[in-house]
Amino acid sequence: MSIAQVKRIAISDSPWPWLLPLIALLAVFTIYPFIYNVWLSFHEFVPKSRGLKFVGFANWVQLWNDGRFWGALGVTFLYFAVALTIEIILGMAIALLLDAELPGFAMLRAVLSMTLVIPPAIAGMMFLLMEDSQFGALSYLLGLVGLLDKATPMLATSSLALIGVLIAEIWQWTPFMVLIFMAGLRSLPAEPYEAAMIDGASSLQMFRRLTLPMMSRVIAVAVLLRGIDLFRVFDYVFVMTSGGPGTATYTVSLYAWQQTFSFLKWGYGATLSLTSLVIVMVMANIFIRVAKVRW
């Protein structure tokens, strides 16, 4: 290619020179790992020879028969559903509460955004400290109102550990919903509400018939973005419980990571991570279609 040709492409109206660096980097980050994961899922690491061996579909058969995988999938879905539901409802309630010009409310909205920039691993640590049964402030407060017995360590009790992790999750990400919903509320037009007032509608009716429908796109975007992150939860369970006690808080991401790096099951770890990738992609794309979210 002559210099003139290169120059012509560079100054032409073609988008590809502009997009090329992005495409190259995203390919490294997404396409190559994907192919590598697929390849790895048909192999397994052999400690004796310190090499990879082709095992066919053995990892996929194992996945199908692995009770711990199905358990982890169940925990992940439970975590996803509980956190998303509470964050949406609580987020909407707080957004409606704070959507007013009252003393200090501008500052309160700024304070609420602080939780979003705390590293989740550190947020997990904060709650690990506060949920300690020996000296934890939150355990103490829950004990005061009779919700928790001092003898019960929240994060070391199978029935409570996931709740303990969810408290950190919900604390950190409810403000995400609040901020997004509040921006949505502020962009609503005033006229429909004025008309409804004249017709004598109650606030509840106005919320159900006006606010919710007009906010549907905002809610859909918030659900999509939070949902994607919830399904791949790793940080909180890693620092707070490492999946324990037993397998009570094992999520798919954590299980995949441990199989790869703790048990050196490279092939099986890749199989697990590929499975979680496929589930997220399918769910998110169905949601995008159904809710008609567009960027």
Binding site: L22, L25, G104, F105, I122, A183, V221, L274, V280
Partner: protein
């Protein structure tokens, strides 16, 4: 809507209480950073009435504030060292350079996606969005083996590359939304005057989108600053960022809560300041440019 004075007062109190509850863990964590062990391990827990000390900060940052603990020799329960100055530096280097990488690549691409019409543009945007859905663990595992082959494990270059790549979908979509705000007629009239796309981009669009680019950079910085899984997977001893090194304060022998809180507080405060700077664009950033305030 008209509300009675009583309703307004109740609403004000409710608002303060709710946000107070959300703020409490931040207050408590920060206060732990200023406590001695005896004030941390007390039962019932101490909420306000403790003897403040800067000892934890002295140990973690190896500085002397006049209390005699400013040595770098203090040993963690696990046997390591408390001195975390270099780890803070690692965090700053990784977050800054990965932000530069993401912003440079993303501004170019976003300009094309915002201004040029070509077949498959919509699909391309969707592809970028879909890369945001990849579970980090599904990227980290293959990346570990790829990096091993190319000797990038445990290096700045490796982590910077991964964090930059991780932030690309956000940066591209967010910058596209900022470019979309600038009227396309400006470009078109400049094109008619014979300016090249590159000139328009550099002389007109970039200066006009300055605020948006800065906000995007701030968000990329924060996401790199808070990232955990990639650093955990791709580093060993060469470098570690603050979130990952904090988790090493938890050991089987005990947890150095005071020191961990000191490091955590030092990592959180700059992020708070930064997020206040971009308050105006925060919702747009959190929704990857989908919602404008």
């Amino acid at each position: 809507m008209q509300q009675s004075a009583l309703a307004r007062t109740l609403r004000t109190i409710a608002g303060w209480l709710v946000v107070g509850a959300f703020f409490f863990p931040i207050y408590f964590w920060t206060s732990v950073a200023f406590r001695d062990a005896k004030d941390i391990f007390n039962w019932p827990p101490i909420f306000f009435n403790f003897q403040p000390t800067v000892r934890n900060f002295e140990q973690v940052f190896g500085i002397s504030l006049g209390f005699g603990y400013g040595s770098q020799e203090a040993v963690t329960p696990g046997g390591g060292n408390f001195y975390m100055g270099p780890r803070l530096w690692d965090s700053i280097v990784v977050a800054s350079l990965s932000t530069v990488l993401a912003i440079v690549v993303a501004t170019l691409a976003s300009y094309a996606l915002s201004r040029m019409h070509f077949r498959g543009r919509h699909e391309f945007v969707n592809w970028v969005l879909s890369t945001r859905m990849m579970p980090p663990v599904a990227v980290a595992i293959p990346m570990f083996f790829i990096f091993k082959q190319f000797n990038l494990l445990d290096t700045y270059v490796g982590v910077i590359l991964v964090h930059g790549l991780m932030n690309l979908p956000l940066a591209v979509l967010l910058l596209k939304s900022f470019f979309d705000d600038i009227p396309a007629e400006i470009d078109e009239s400049a094109l008619l005057d014979g300016a090249s796309r590159w000139t328009i981009f550099r002389r007109i669009v970039l200066p006009m989108a300055k605020g948006g680019i800065a906000a995007t950079a701030v968000l990329c910085f924060i996401f790199s600053w808070t990232e955990f899984l990639f650093v955990l997977t791709l580093t060993q001893t060469g470098l570690k960022t603050v979130p990952v090194v904090s988790s090493t304060f938890v050991t089987s022998i005990g947890t150095a809560w005071g020191n961990m809180a000191a490091l955590g507080a030092a990592a959180i405060v700059p992020a708070f300041i930064v997020v206040l700077l971009v308050q105006r664009h925060l919702v747009r950033g959190l929704t990857m440019g989908s919602l404008k305030q």
